[in-house]
Amino acid sequence: SITGACQAIQKLTRVRVVDNSALGNTPYHRPPKCIHVYNKTGVGKVGDKILLAIKGEKKKALIVGHKMPGPTMTPRFDSNNVVLIEDNGNPIGTRIKTPIPYILRQREGEFSKVLAIARNFV
């Protein structure tokens, strides 16, 4: 069987944590990897929740940008960016310096706390 082409973020993709949480920023000999995507398809795009394996722990995270080109007028980032999140949707960090796409504002209800700590929007 042939695996489908890799699109955006799926299981075993290495991601980059962009908030200023302790878990995300302390160095570890293994990069944080995605182990599950909470989606009908196993492919995560901007605004999807994923399960991350960081420093031997499992943590949920929100995708804020990926390397795959999306619809026109949406930004495409040079790295797969992710923000660490609790089960109820509260972000763990207190600031997000990297730019966040405006599309996330559409689901203001779920991501209001993450958008509140974001500094730059694209």
């Binding site: 007028m73 495409r76 730019p99 405006y102 599309i103 996330l104 929007f121």
Partner: protein, 247 residues
């Protein structure tokens, strides 16, 4: 008043009119036909391209799309329902222009807070509210995709950059900048002759450059089936454009 030799008042003679030499009109009119007007090579009915061109001209009458090439620094304001003040401004260097007809796109790249961001905009989208050219500068290549593998300083542009002044009648200057790259591996093997890139300062050893030349296809430039002469089509479209825009 001048006293004449006759003693009678002289008829008023106006001073000689200053002759204004308008250098802009004297120099040859610079023609620029946007690449998305030129129809691609194929067997489709030219009526389709004619209808698309009519729509493109309609849009251009309402909204000014300035002349720009790959390598220019542009600031685009789009209407965004989810942004503050409903509008969103992005400044970046144009790395490629693709698509023909109404679906013509251009990709702007910038590095914000250490994160590289690229946005692909559609030229004729009604969501775009303004396009300003901040810096007019052509580069040595048509496609600056290698900026992704170059050092981030070559793609950083200040969001509040002031427009660099440029005289209308001068030629758009070509910046012969040789960009330095990050260490390999790159997203594409830019040293290969297929990409024909002149704007990178390759710091690779000679052996690697020679090995890359193995993939050169010198017969491609002489291939007659790939020839597409657009000069006559361009003349036609230029005349059509000018007629429609004058109306």
């Amino acid at each position: 008043c001048r006293a004449s030799s006759d003693g009678k008042p002289e008829k008023f003679q106006p001073p000689p009119k200053p002759v204004i030499i308008d250098k802009q009109k004297q120099r040859a009119e610079r023609r620029f036909l946007s690449p998305e007007f030129i129809p691609p090579r194929g067997r489709t009915d030219p009526l389709k391209y004619y209808m698309e061109r009519k729509d493109m001209i309609q849009r251009r009458k309402v909204f000014n799309i300035p002349e720009f090439y790959v390598g220019h620094v542009l600031a685009v304001t789009t209407a965004d329902p989810y942004a503050n003040n409903k509008s969103n401004r992005f400044v970046g260097i144009c790395i490629q222009r693709g698509g023909k007809g109404l679906g013509a796109t251009f990709v702007l790249r910038n590095v914000i807070e250490g994160q590289g961001v690229e946005i692909c905009y559609e030229l004729y989208s009604p969501r775009i509210q303004a396009i300003e050219v901040l810096k007019l500068e052509k580069r040595l290549d048509d496609n600056l995709m290698y900026l992704r593998d170059a050092l981030p300083e070559y793609s950083t542009f200040d969001m509040n950059m002031k427009p660099v002044p440029h005289l209308d009648d001068e030629e758009v200057r070509v910046n012969k900048l040789q960009v330095r790259m990050k260490p390999k591996p790159w997203s594409k093997r830019w040293e290969r002759p297929k990409y024909n890139i002149k704007g990178i300062k390759f710091e690779l050893p000679e052996s690697k450059m020679k090995e890359a030349q193995k993939w050169s296809q010198p017969w491609l430039e002489f291939d007659m089936l790939r020839e597409y002469d657009t000069s006559k089509i361009e003349e036609q479209i230029w005349k059509e454009l000018n007629e429609e825009l004058k109306k």
